[in-house]
Amino acid sequence: MTEPVLSPQGQQCLQALMRVWFEFERQLGRVPLLQRLDRGQFSKADYCQLLLNWRQQVIEGSRWISRCASSFDRDYSDVRSVIIGHAREEHRDYEMLEQDYVAAGGTLADIQTAARNIGTEALHGFLMYRASQSNPVDLVGAMWIIEGLGQKMASDWAEQIDKATGGDGSFTRFMRYHGANDDDHLQKLYQLLDRLCQSPAQLAAIVRTARVTARLYCLQLEEVDNEY
């Protein structure tokens, strides 16, 4: 850590967000699919199923981020710039995910035509709704969860998946890629926190959105095992 969050309000918010994150990790620890991954009883088919479900959220991810940027008015033009940059960096991530899916034995048409699962519907709906509000400060809470998950994928899941499925990293590129810019992203997030959390009401909104995002993300992962 080079530059910590500085303002007292930002720091309080960071403490609360850390707790939301820890709780989120425990929720993830209860998801059957991830428990199987932990035990190493996780097949390539499981992995493909995970990507198939995930892709639908990743491809929508760039939409809510872009809308979030456009919902910030002139008083937040600095924030808008940061978020546009972020959206630009990640808006084609789903292509890498699709390539991983094909490399792992899936068919491109399958992943491109699959529907959103119940959790993805809820998560996407919630994020788009929040992003459409004017000055959606609270969405920094959603970014916190999603950024954290990117790091977790890169540092834990990619390796576990390769180990369990006998992979060599050639079909976990999407997950690994998210680890590459960790520090930079985290630093930007801390700066956003400091900028956007300036009152107790904003703090409460950020933490609430982080909580909802975490819960719906979990729901999305729980739903990977469900076929309707």
Binding site: M1, P4, V5, P8, Q11, Q12, L14, Q15, A16, M18, R19, F22, E23, E25, R26, Q27, G29, R30, Q35, D38, R39, G40, Q41
Partner: protein
């Protein structure tokens, strides 16, 4: 009603054993020196420790024996004699015998009469659970005092012959703790009245997360993850041993969670108003390894609730990681050797990796 820690004691068996002396004492597995030892010792930062076994692998003192020595050391500087002790609360991760409870064996060893008894079972946090049981017993007015003792004799698990009996392959997870854990015992005396300069227990709290995490440290499972049999499910104990089900293991991959969960509990206690970081004068944290100390410290710092480095006290590096006994041995040495004055706040933390139970305690120094 308040509860006070009015005395403490410890027992460490034999002379201090340096890093170079460890392997000759524990033995070469299959006649070969360990390739992991240096790396693990470098990371945990431990310089000396004690063992209750000798180089011929004879046990020099039993686990209950060590516990009794620590208890006697504690009583020798207290206002109470053995006859006045009303409760014994004991903790260990593995007693000398499977049954009966460790507390019973310790009671007999100590010769305590007519006491109320509690045995707590677990890993590093079992001492804190034993302490909490005694603390609440006193708070409820059930007893006026309690002796709380925690003791560990894990070196018996580290004899080269144990690993050899489990076959040829010695995996990292099975070897890891060989270079981490050692033996010792600590004791605290709780009373419902203060004596001289002593510690008032402000609160004890723990948060367990076994529902959300796999087993991280264990004895009783074979190394292979897909085999969920317990050591008791084999036809004979010999088969269990051959399968490696009696080795002590740490799933190192999961270990990092301890940092986050340790800080998580700390943040909860802050938001409940129980901990006020600025008011903490001394931190006694049972971290298993110097490596984790830095990680915990950094994360607390990052969250803006760090506690200055000079307030942290530990004797891990000289006394070793003695599992559940560590926090008592640390508190005892702190009490005897470190400057502290009436009004000082002491925060104790025991994050356990077994299946992630984190215990915390706050003490205030008082002068009767």
């Amino acid at each position: 009603m308040s509860v006070f820690i009015t005395s403490s004691g410890h027992f460490l068996p034999g002379p201090p054993i340096s890093n170079d002396q460890m392997e000759p004492l524990l033995g070469l597995v299959h006649g070969k020196p360990s390739r992991l030892k240096r790396r693990i010792l470098q990371s945990n930062g431990i310089k000396t420790r004690h063992y209750a076994i000798d180089a011929n692998h004879n046990t020099t003192i039993s686990n209950a024996g060590m516990a009794a020595k620590a208890a006697e050391h504690c009583l020798s500087t207290s206002f109470l004699g053995k006859r006045q002790i009303k409760m014994l609360s004991a903790a260990t991760s593995q007693g000398d015998v499977v049954l009966p409870g460790f507390g019973s064996m310790l009671q007999a060893e100590l010769g305590l009469r007519d006491i109320e008894l509690h045995s707590s079972h677990g890993i590093c946090s079992s001492s804190m659970m034993a302490l909490k049981a005694a603390y609440t017993n006193l708070l409820a007015g059930e007893q006026p005092n309690a002796l709380v003792v925690a003791s560990e004799l894990t070196s018996r698990l580290f004899k080269a012959s144990r690993y050899e009996a489990a076959g040829s392959a010695l995996d990292f997870n099975a070897e890891f703790l060989r270079w981490m854990l050692s033996d010792g015992a600590g004791a605290l005396l709780l009373e419902n009245q203060p004596r001289d300069k002593c510690f008032r227990v402000d609160w004890i709290r723990s948060f367990s997360h076994a529902d959300a995490y796999p087993v991280c440290m264990s004895v009783g499972y074979p190394g292979n993850n897909s085999d969920s049999r317990s050591w008791q499910d084999y036809a004979t104990y010999a088969e269990a041993e051959a399968a490696g089900a009696l080795l002590i293991r740490q799933d190192v991959r999961l270990l990092e969670n301890i940092v986050k969960l340790g800080v998580d509990g700390y943040l909860r206690l802050i938001s409940e108003g129980r901990v006020q970081p600025a008011k903490v004068d001394h931190v006694l944290c049972h971290y298993s390894s110097h490596y984790f100390r830095g990680k915990i410290f950094d994360m607390m710092q990052r969250a803006g609730v760090g506690i200055a480095e000079h307030k942290w006290y530990s004797n891990l590096y000289q006394r070793g990681n003695t599992g559940c006994a560590s926090i008592f041995i640390m508190l005892d040495e702190f009490r005897r050797s470190q400057p502290h004055q009436a009004g000082d706040t002491i925060l104790c933390m025991v994050p356990e990796s077994g299946r992630f139970n984190n215990a915390y305690m706050q003490l205030t120094v008082v002068e009767a």
